[in-house]
Subunit: 269 residues, 2 copies
């Protein structure tokens, strides 16, 4: 693209506050941009910034033609209104795909979203790359968050799976999950999904990243998924590890969305 | 509202072409408006009208302060782009709730749609009025159309049911449906759901309205639902009849959405 039309895709990241995990995510995204030749722009604002300051930076990036994707790192400080801030990102540059207009288009038949949210897009890409048939299969999504569970369920449905959504009010979640050929677990509860929940041969995508105490680890904790890997890996046909499964896919899809945005804005095929 | 602030809610209906069923629906909506004191505005355009003519009428209603709801009767003639036309309706007056921004807000936790689409809203109202518990219950929606199945599934999920969506690619739909405490059938296939599909005591909402040949009827046909009423009514705890169940609720919810819109626009509580 650079050679053909002289355009370098650009991704702007806005980070408010100094949460360690958010800083790590932003650093990883920046590194990934560098690795593939996407120019990254970064704004770091102090925890006590006002909503207006964040909105001002979004407006600047919205009108900056060298920026094709804008990402506001979540969670935002409590005194800010997530909805106001996320809605301010231009729909053409909302590479996270969190805008309600985008989610609506994702839900509707015959419409396509501008961007597919990164983590669910990564889950689908994993299923495709590993040759997992989706059409006509039973799929269970555990968790219904706006950023993973809900859009993942919509994507599976668009791909013609028969989808059930399990959440905190579901009675006997293990019975429904056991019917699934495909499970996407995105609920944030360490080792919730046990071996007994899984249909033999099923494909399991584990989106959870939960810290559990581990005195033997130098950090005092280790990261585990929503799925008990030790048990599930003996029964599942395919299973993603935590860490290392879905996480890197999320970043890859962010880069893919940014490139897609640059191509669309510059009408480059 | 008229007495308190001198405002009469207004609903505008745009009908293109001369389909008999669409004319009947529009006439029924108009009658219902009159019965409750909503002022109705109607535009009838010939089948061969241009998209621009429809868009011009929408623009006029969008800026008319006496109109609080705008409804474009579907289906539109084939030469028109539904998406362009439905997107032109001001989101504040989209009483059908079909705008993708509205669907997105319906799908997301922590957001509320401007309007809940009329037929799914009617289904939920029936469940509430008849005291059907939804939270924690298994619900199956048969069909995933943009106007009924998909939004109905989103509403059931917002009400904390565990929702599965059955569609044309689903294998053994009867097995999943048999697990459901609540079934919403909206697929347009006469008598698809048999008695054997139903869990004893379940609540069944039948959205289908399908003509089947009937030489004994003066019109040569009669209307039946997606559910085989004769069989299902023996097993279900509650079941809506066709015609007469969901149909009148759809119109009632359209009136309710129009009133809600007028109240919101005029900040009337």
């Amino acid at each position: 693209m650079k050679d053909a039309i002289g355009v370098v895709p650009g991704l702007a990241v806005i980070l408010v506050g100094s949460r360690k995990d958010s800083q790590t995510y932003v650093r990883n995204k920046k590194k990934a941009c560098e690795a593939v030749g996407i120019k990254s722009y970064e704004v770091n604002l102090p925890e006590d910034s006002s909503e207006d300051e964040v909105l001002k930076h979004i407006a600047t990036f919205n009108s900056d033609p060298s920026v094709h994707g804008i990402l506001v790192q979540l969670p935002l400080p409590h005194h800010m209104n997530d909805e106001n801030i996320l809605n301010a990102v231009s729909i053409e540059k909302d590479v996270d795909g969190f805008h309600p207009l985008n989610i609506g288009r994702l839900a509707m038949q015959g419409r396509d979203p501008f961007f597919v949210p990164c983590t669910p897009k990564g889950c689908m890409e994993l299923l495709h790359r590993y040759g997992v048939e989706i059409k006509g299969k039973r799929a269970v999504v555990i968790g219904r968050s706006n950023i993973v569970g809900m859009p993942a369920a919509l994507l599976l449905q668009k791909a013609n799976a028969t989808v059930s959504i399990v959440h905190s009010n579901t009675k006997k979640p293990e019975e429904i999950t056991r019917q699934a050929d495909i499970v996407i677990a995105a609920v944030g509860v360490a080792n919730l999904v046990r071996g007994s929940w899984i249909k033999p041969g099923a494909a399991i995508i584990d989106v959870g990243i939960n810290p559990v105490d581990d005195p033997e680890s130098p950090r005092g904790y280790r990261l585990v998924g929503d799925v008990c890997y030790e048990e599930a890996s003996k029964i599942a046909g395919l299973i993603t590890p935590v860490p290392g499964g879905v996480g890197p896919m999320t970043i890859a899809m962010l880069l893919s969305n940014t490139l897609e945005s640059a191509k669309r804005i510059h009408k480059f095929k």
